[in-house]
C-alpha cells in the first residue's frame, strides 16, 4: 500500500530525529511531575493522566509539521506528482504519527507497572484508537497553508495545551463547572482519559463503549476534514 511508503518516509525522516523523540518523552513527564508535586492525588488517577497525556502529545507532536516542512524543503511538489492522491498522503502521515504515539505509550505503561498499578489490557485498544484520532487532529493543525513550521507549531500549541486542562487529566470532569464540562465533552482527549481511568480501576464518567464510539466518530470526522482541507492547502504550499 502506497500510504505505508509515505509512513515509512515520515518515520525515517521526522521521527528518527533524536530531539523529536526526547521531547515526546520529556514533555508529558515534566507536565506530570509539575502537577503531582505537592498535591495529594491518588497514584492511579495520575497514571491514567500520564498515559493519556503521553499518547496525546506524541501523536500530535510531528504530524502538524510534516506538510510545512515538505513545502519548505521543496520536496512537496514531486510528492504530489506521484500517482497517489491527497488521501493516501494524509493516511500515511497518520499511520506514522500513530505508530510514534503507540510506541511512546510504552513508557507510562512501564512506569505504571513499576509502581504496582494493574492496568486493564483494554488500554491497548484505547491507545491505538486514540493515537489514530490525535494524529488526525495533529494533521488538521497543518491545514493552515503556512510553510513555516514554527507558525504551525504555534497554532497546534494553542490548541494542545488548553486541551489537557479541560480533558479530565488533572481535574476530574465531575469537578468541572458546567462550562468546563461542555468544553470537556468537545475534546476527544476527554474520552481517552476516561478509558484510561477505567483501565486503572477508577470509575469512568461515561460508559467505556461510549468513549470508544466517540473516539472513532471523531477520528472519521477529523480524517475527512483533514483530507478536504489539505487538498486545498497543499497546492498553496508549492
Amino acid at each position: 500500500m502506497r500510504a505505508l511508503a509515505i509512513a515509512k518516509k515520515d518515520i525515517l525522516i521526522y521521527y528518527s530525529k533524536g530531539p523529536v523523540v526526547i521531547f515526546g518523552i520529556l514533555l508529558p513527564i515534566f507536565l506530570f511531575l509539575a502537577f503531582w508535586i505537592g498535591r495529594d492525588l491518588p497514584l492511579n488517577f495520575l497514571m491514567a493522566g500520564l498515559i493519556a497525556m503521553t499518547v496525546f502529545f506524541a501523536s500530535t507532536s510531528v504530524s502538524p509539521v510534516v506538510a510545512p516542512w515538505e513545502g519548505q524543503m521543496r520536496t512537496l511538489e514531486r510528492l504530489l506528482t506521484y500517482p497517489i492522491d491527497v488521501k493516501t498522503i494524509i493516511l500515511g502521515d497518520i499511520i506514522a504519527s500513530s505508530i510514534f504515539g503507540i510506541l511512546l505509550s510504552a513508557i507510562p505503561l512501564a512506569i505504571a507497572f513499576g509502581v504496582g498499578i494493574s492496568v486493564n489490557p483494554l488500554i491497548i485498544l484505547g491507545i491505538v484508537v486514540s493515537a489514530v484520532c490525535f494524529s488526525s487532529l495533529g494533521l488538521l493543525f497543518s491545514a493552515y497553508p503556512s510553510n513555516i513550521p514554527a507558525t504551525v507549531m504555534m497554532i497546534s500549541a494553542l490548541v494542545r495545551f488548553p486541551m489537557i486542562f479541560i480533558s479530565g487529566i488533572f481535574i476530574p470532569i465531575d469537578n468541572l463547572p458546567w462550562l468546563g464540562k461542555i468544553l470537556a465533552f468537545l475534546s476527544p482527549l476527554t474520552y481517552f482519559t476516561d478509558i484510561a481511568r477505567f483501565c486503572v480501576g477508577l470509575k469512568p464518567f461515561f460508559p467505556v463503549y461510549t468513549d470508544f464510539a466517540v473516539l472513532i466518530g471523531y477520528t472519521t470526522l477529523l480524517f475527512v476534514l483533514s483530507v478536504k482541507l489539505h487538498e486545498k492547502a497543499l497546492l498553496k504550499r508549492i
Binding site: R2, M73, T81, P83, I84
Partner: protein, 297 residues
Amino acid sequence: MAVIKVENIEKSFNGKRVLKGISFKVRKGEIFGYLGPNGAGKTTTVRILTGLIRPDKGKAFVCGYDVAKEPIKAREKVGVLPEVSNVYPDLTAWQNLMLASQLYGLDKKTAERRGEKLLKEFGIYDVRNSKVKAFSKGMKQRLMFCMALICNPDVIFLDEPTSGLDVASARMLRRKVLELRDEGVTVFLTSHNMDEVDLLCDRVAIIKDGKIIAEDTPDGIKELVGGSVAVEVRFDREVDFKGEKVGDRYVVYTTDPNETICKIVEFAKSRGVRIVSINTRSPSLEDAFLKILGEVA
C-alpha cells in the same frame, strides 16, 4: 498518436490570466521543447499536465487520460522533474529512489533491479548509501532524474532540467534524454538554453504572454527569421563598431551579407584597424527566438 493533447487551456491566478487558450499535441517518442521567457506560463502548463492544478477552461490529456478527471491514472506511467524540487536530504540516495518506486507501486524486486541499473547509468551508484544532504546540485538532479525514470515512464516532463547544473551533469542529462527518445519515451522539455533545445528537440512551441506564438521544428523556427544571416567580425583592437558585441566579436544580422561585409571592410580601412576574422553563419535558434518575441511585443 498524440501522447499529450492540450485543447484550449486557460488558467488565471487571482484574476491574472496566465494561460489564455493554449493548444498543442505531442506525438509518441517525440522530444517537445516548450520555450518562453520567464513568467510565460511554462511551469503552470507542466503543473496542469501532471494533474497538480486544474485548468479553468479547456482539456488536457496525457496517455489518453483526462488529467483533470483521472490524474492518478494519468500519472502511473509519467515521470516528472519539477522546476523547483528537491530530494529528501535526510534520506540516502537509495532510500529516495526506493520511496519513489513504492509510490509508483512497483514490487521490491523490480524496483531494486531498475534502481541499481539507473544509479549506475547516472554515475551515483557508489554513493547510494550516503545521505543526499551531502550531494552537489548536479548529483541531486541526477537522482531526481532516476526517480522519474524508475516507473519506466511513457512520458517524462522536464521543467528546466539543466538550469544551474554543472557542465558534466547537464551533458549527461541531455545524452539521456536522447536515449529515452530512441526507446520511444515522449519527452516534454522546458528550457532556457536555446542550444540545448536546438540540439535535442524534434519540435518546439514558443509561448509568450499565455499564448503559443510559434510551433515548428527548430529549423522551421529558424527559417521564420526570414533568410537573414549573421555576420561575425573580430578586429585587432577596441573600436566603436555598431553591432551586437558577443565576447570579443561583433555580430550583425543582415539579409544582404555582401553589402554588410563590404561596409565592414570600409569601416576597418577608414579607422585603420585590422580584421582578425570575419565569417557568416545562419541564425541560431536563439536569434530566431528573440526575433519572434520582439515581433509579437
